[in-house]
Amino acid sequence: MKNPVIPRTVLEARNLSIHYGDSAAVSGVSLKIPEREVLAIIGPSGCGKSTLLRSFNRMNDFIDSCRFEGELLFEGVNIYGPNIDPVELRQRIGMVFQRPNPFPKSIRANITWAPRMAGYLGDYDELVERTLREAALWDESKDKLDKSALSLSGGQQQRLCIARSLAMSPEVLLMDEPCSALDPIATGKIEELIRGLREQYTVVIVTHNLQQAGRISDRTAFMYQGDLIEIDQTDRLFTQPAKKKTEDYITGRFG
């Protein structure tokens, strides 16, 4: 069956290269990410997954040695072009990191801090409840919203970090190995959560766990030594990869 509507492209990389000093971390990557897709990025350690992901909301700006070439379009606008405010960009493209990093504030304040800075005018209690529900953390935290976020378990902290990102109503959510510090049960909860997010958000997730990529993503991109080797529908990439390198990687022959 053919999809009658061609989905809008949200993010597009055109011949993107990123260097740290003299060494290339990402070389000539081009890809398009349509609206409401979950895209998984896989590849061996050091192949440039995090570097690519962080370039999508300009988190590499903070690294002095990092140089950027090519174009990165968000909603058709080059985000490395002039007149782009990275602060505003990051409000629209949120990020969840590998290790849970809640602020040493209350659970509630973790969620409300950024919206308050951005001048959110809605009801804050409603915002806290809605995002905690979306992140499947409400039942566990509703009675201790004013307790420190550091009193939560690692898996709960990571879900809080996701809720915190959702509170800014981003259009895209970038996740860098969000489950790597978590046990299988917490991982399962977060995977379920990501499947639910697809209804509203575009998600780009870096993962080392191939089964995880298979479970949650629509498409998967395979990177190797800074190159984008292959990007395809997840089931196809895993069952009939077009490139030899991809096949070697997913069958565990290296990496």
Partner: protein, 292 residues
């Protein structure tokens, strides 16, 4: 052989630690012992609540409050300057300065922190006081304001440097989290880094206040030696330390209550500073700390 060396090192370290602790107790012991005869003449109540300090006149009066208020006035002026300026300087150093600017500024601060206080004293009476008198009417030749300002100038480098250390020990992951939510540099600094460093920053403030309370040379030179009870920083005052210096250098015969009073004042200062340090330890226990 190795175990012998290890045990020598251990005992050496233990001895050094004990020496500094024993010294503190020794000081406390002497202060108490020397002020006991004073408290036989003057009741502690009279000493602590009296509002007239005239130990060298007849009739004598030993109400320490004017000295305490004089000390707090200078300290208050200093704190009002040190806390905002020191914090802003630390925020700049830790979050805004390029690594090159930092490499120059941080050692400069540490050099500033090592200038002898007598230099600051001269700076107070030759620069700050005349400038104040030119601008504000009613400033006396010796006044608490000038002393407080210069005490602040002396302490700012220490507070800035310590607060900078505290802010830099806040994990980068928290900055990334905040930037990733679309916060500005200012919001990250004020809303995440500063509160994240609060235990270290508060410790720096308390240390600064302690140094202001105990500062001697600048206040002796610039604040005056008139123990009048006043809250006006433009007036001449006398601090507890200033009084101790005055008597120690003067010709008050040892053994008289006038002379003994310096130990009582010293004991009071010791108790105030000790409580401040206990408060600092309490703060440091109370807030999160990060391992770096």
């Amino acid at each position: 052989m190795r175990s012998l060396r290890e045990s020598c090192i251990r005992h050496g370290l233990l001895t050094s630690a004990s020496i500094s602790i024993l010294t503190s107790f020794g000081i406390l012991f002497i202060l108490i012992k020397e002020s006991l005869p004073f408290f036989e003449d003057v009741s502690p109540w009279e000493f602590l609540t009296g509002t007239n300090w005239a130990p060298l006149m007849v009739p004598r009066d030993y109400g320490v409050i004017p000295l305490v208020v004089g000390t707090l006035l200078v300290t208050g002026v200093a704190a009002l300057i040190v806390i905002p300026v020191g914090s802003l300087a630390a925020m700049y150093l830790s979050e805004y300065a390029s690594s090159r600017a930092r490499r120059i500024l941080k050692p400069t601060l540490e050099v500033l922190a090592g200038i002898p206080t007598v230099v600051y004293g001269y700076f107070a009476i030759t620069v700050v006081t005349p400038a104040l008198r030119a601008v504000i009417p009613g400033v006396e030749v010796f006044n608490a304001l000038s002393a407080g300002i210069v005490v602040a100038v002396m302490i700012i480098p220490t507070v800035a440097s310590l607060s900078d250390d505290a802010m830099r020990s806040v994990p980068n992951a928290l900055r990334e989290a905040a930037f990733g939510l679309g916060a500005t540099q200012k919001e990250v600094t004020v809303g995440v880094v500063y509160p994240g460093a609060i235990s270290g920053v508060m410790a720096a403030y308390v240390l600064a206040i302690g140094r202001a309370l105990g500062e001697t040379m600048i206040v002796t030179m610039a604040a005056g030696s008139t123990p009048l009870l006043t809250l006006n920083p433009l007036d001449s005052v006398q601090t507890m330390t200033g009084y101790i210096v005055q008597v120690s250098l003067g010709d008050t015969p040892a053994g008289t209550p006038g002379y003994m009073s310096i130990f009582a004042v010293g004991l009071l200062l010791f108790v105030i500073t000790l409580s401040l340090n206990l408060f600092r330890i309490w703060i440091q226990r109370r807030y999160v700390r990060y391992d770096t």
